[in-house]
């Protein structure tokens, strides 16, 4: 076939080369697996056991009971007591504690007299996730205590209004369930883009490109021949990553495996095409590396991996729509956690496929068959 002339020759050569050099194989497989394990464990915003210092100026049974209630939530861990408000603030400033709990001397007196009994909670706001968690938990404690007391005073046994939340798909709110599908997208990204970005650069640096140019070889044949081995390789790698997600992080896979693999195939094809596009421009390893990094970095921030896309300013939201990882990560979360089908998300699959074919065509068109 004329359109893909030379495809087989390039394909066989790339395969032989790939398996001949174990270090390349190793560096293709090893980093993504390490990344997913490292990221999977490190990225966790379930806040537990926040270090808390206590200033109890009341020293009564009631005040001690209140402290107990704070500790029992699991969110706070009392690491020590101090004697003054100054010490309380110092402990937070010095990073020894995130939370300071101050119970004033008149707490029990006010409580017994039916007056407003106040408790002061100092929260380190420099880490917003922690601050938010501390704020909500302590407010919750106050609310519940008040309700119980009001109930006892009025004789009403039931809560007047009750919200009964039910968290679907991730009932235990494990943040690994949210992060790991995202990390899968990022881990696949780096290895694949770089693999094809180097494909032509290596030929250019070694001087073999000139030999290829004088041969009757079609551009698509060359490009597809370079891409196919890495496509197979990346699919193997993706399978490995799925296994890690399933068996190491216990992420449920509720959707169809075929949906998962179709999404991965389209995503990887798009990434490898991006690599080829880089390869047509980069003159050496260094440039290829820089271009790869320049393209990958935005996807870390704007793909919805860390922050929900919906809260992004309009401009960044637009950026996120042209990043393949945006669609892949969403597809992974949808398929793995929510059991979404291909039909539910067909437009995402079409977009990923379109990106892949489009970028591939661009790479083939931009590759110069002549020297300048």
């Amino acid at each position: 076939m004329k359109l893909f002339r030379g495809y087989t020759a390039i394909l066989l050569k790339e395969f032989t080369t790939m398996f001949r050099d174990p270090t390349t194989l190793f560096f293709m497989f090893f980093p993504p697996v390490v990344q997913i394990i490292a990221f999977g464990y490190a990225l966790d915003n379930d806040v537990k056991h926040m270090a808390t210092v206590l200033l109890n100026e009341d020293r009564t049974v009631e005040s001690r009971q209140l402290v107990e209630k704070f500790a029992n939530t699991g969110s706070f861990r009392i690491i020590g007591e101090v004697r003054s408000v100054g010490d309380l603030e110092a402990a937070i400033r010095q990073g020894k504690a995130y939370v300071g709990l101050q119970i004033p001397p008149d707490f029990t007196r006010n409580l017994r007299a039916g007056r407003n009994a106040q408790v002061q909670v100092l929260i380190d706001g420099s880490s917003s996730t922690i601050a938010l968690q501390a704020l909500q938990t302590s407010m919750g404690i106050a609310m519940r205590e008040s309700l119980v007391m009001l109930g006892a005073a009025t004789g009403q046994r039931e809560q007047p209004v009750e919200v009964r939340p039910q968290v679907l798909y991730n009932p235990s709110m494990k943040s690994a369930n949210f992060f790991v599908p995202g990390v899968m997208g990022l881990a696949l990204q780096i290895a694949t883009v770089f693999a094809t970005a180097l494909a032509l650069v290596r030929e250019r640096e070694k001087g073999t490109l000139e030999n290829l140019l004088v041969a009757p070889l079609s551009r698509s044949g060359l490009m597809l021949g370079k891409l196919t081995p890495y496509l197979l390789m990346s699919m193997t790698m993706a399978t490995l990553i799925f296994l890690v997600a399933r068996w190491v992080f216990q992420i449920p896979i509720r959707g169809d495996l075929s949906a998962l693999f179709l999404a991965t195939f389209l995503f990887v094809f798009a990434l490898l095409s991006i690599g080829l596009l880089i390869s047509t421009r980069a003159q050496n390893h260094m440039q290829a590396l820089q271009m790869t990094m320049a393209l990958i970095l935005p996807s870390v921030f704007f793909s919805g991996f860390l922050f929900p896309r919906e809260t992004m300013p309009q401009f960044f939201y637009w950026i996120s729509t042209v990043i393949p990882a945006t669609y892949f990560i969403e597809l992974m979360r949808a398929t793995m956690l929510r059991g979404a089908t291909i039909a539910d998300y067909w437009h995402y699959y079409v977009i990923l496929a379109g990106m892949g074919v489009g970028v591939f065509a661009m790479a083939a068109a931009r590759f110069r068959t002549k020297l300048s």
Binding site: K13, T17, R20, K206, N211, K370
Partner: protein, 313 residues
């Protein structure tokens, strides 16, 4: 086989090849000479269809290098200056790759590979990785790779640069073998002895093709053999001392050391006796003087000097 008319290549303001015209017949070994940067590789790249000419025309076997570059690619082989093999592939794998690249398949591919392995005597190394071959054997393999698709013309850009003299001679034997099979060879080189072996030579200097033709024909050019002058070879002891003395003799137009002897271009009126006397002044008593024909080097030196005079006002 190769027809070139007024071929020109400009890179911005710089003219790399300035209106070169020549033709190479089928089966010829065409030696293309010139200093580094004179435009040799540029000419080859244009002929191979990987560099677009800025002007002029060129065709190989009737295929225009610009318009029919697709048909052209199947009929030419090109061993570039830095022709690189795939180091991590073995000898066989390299050959198979280049064969497949040109669409050769199955039994034909095997046969052609075996043919080239026996022709280049690569048999003992077939399983070895290209990275582990020595310079001479690498060049043989590179050449074999370029010949897998049976090209009618083989371009070799400095095939003997940097390899040892034995390998160099063997490589030339191989080139003659290819030539006897009817392949037209287009070889660039810096070595004058290699140029002497070619059936035709061209000399490019400062982007201009200065001369082109058969070596014997070039040696008889009037510019090289000025009227009223002849060339002599003088063999004696202390050649460098003798050279200084002979240069002082009026009527000696040029004198160059050539190993153990010197080559002189002298006017007809100078006799051997006069040279002997001149040498005797620096106590060289013994000297063997005989007339010689100009070498290719003489030809190129003379023509380069003329070109320079033409350039300078």
């Amino acid at each position: 086989m190769i027809e070139v008319q007024n071929l020109t290549k400009r890179f911005g303001n710089f003219t790399a090849v300035d209106g070169a015209s020549f033709s190479v017949g089928k089966g010829a070994i065409f030696g293309f000479l010139g200093p580094n940067g004179s435009g040799k590789s540029t000419v080859i790249r244009m002929l191979c269809g990987i560099l677009s000419p800025s002007g002029g025309k060129a065709s190989i076997g009737g295929h225009d290098v610009v318009a029919d570059s697709d048909q052209l690619k199947g009929t030419i082989g090109y061993m570039s200056q830095k022709f690189s093999l795939y180091d991590e592939l073995t000898v066989t794998e390299n050959l198979l790759f280049y064969g497949r690249l040109y669409g050769i398949k199955g039994e034909t591919l095997r046969q052609r590979m075996d043919e080239l392995i026996s022709l280049t005597h690569l048999a003992p190394y077939v399983g070895r990785r290209a990275a582990l071959l020595s310079g001479g054997w690498r060049q043989r393999l590179a050449m074999a790779c370029c010949l897998m698709h049976k090209p009618a013309v083989l371009f070799l850009d400095e095939p003997t640069a940097g390899i040892d003299p034995v390998a160099r001679r063997e490589l030339w034997d191989l080139l003659f073998e290819f030539s006897s099979q009817g392949i037209t060879l287009f070889v660039t080189t810096h070595y004058m002895d290699e140029a002497e072996r070619c059936s035709h030579v061209g000399y490019i200097y400062l982007s201009k093709l200065i001369v082109c033709g058969e070596p014997d024909h070039l040696k008889q050019l009037p510019e090289v053999n000025p009227a009223g002058a002849r060339r002599l070879d003088v063999t004696c002891d202390h050649v460098t001392v003798g050279l200084q003395a002979v240069r002082r003799l009026p009527g000696v137009r040029s004198a160059t050391v050539f190993g153990q002897s010197m080559h002189l271009l002298v006017e007809q009126r100078i006799t051997e006796q006069q040279i002997h006397e001149q040498l005797a002044k620096v106590s060289i008593q013994q000297a063997d003087i005989r007339p010689i024909a100009p070498s290719l080097e003489d030809v190129f030196v003379t023509l380069t000097a003329e070109q320079l005079e033409g350039v300078r006002p």
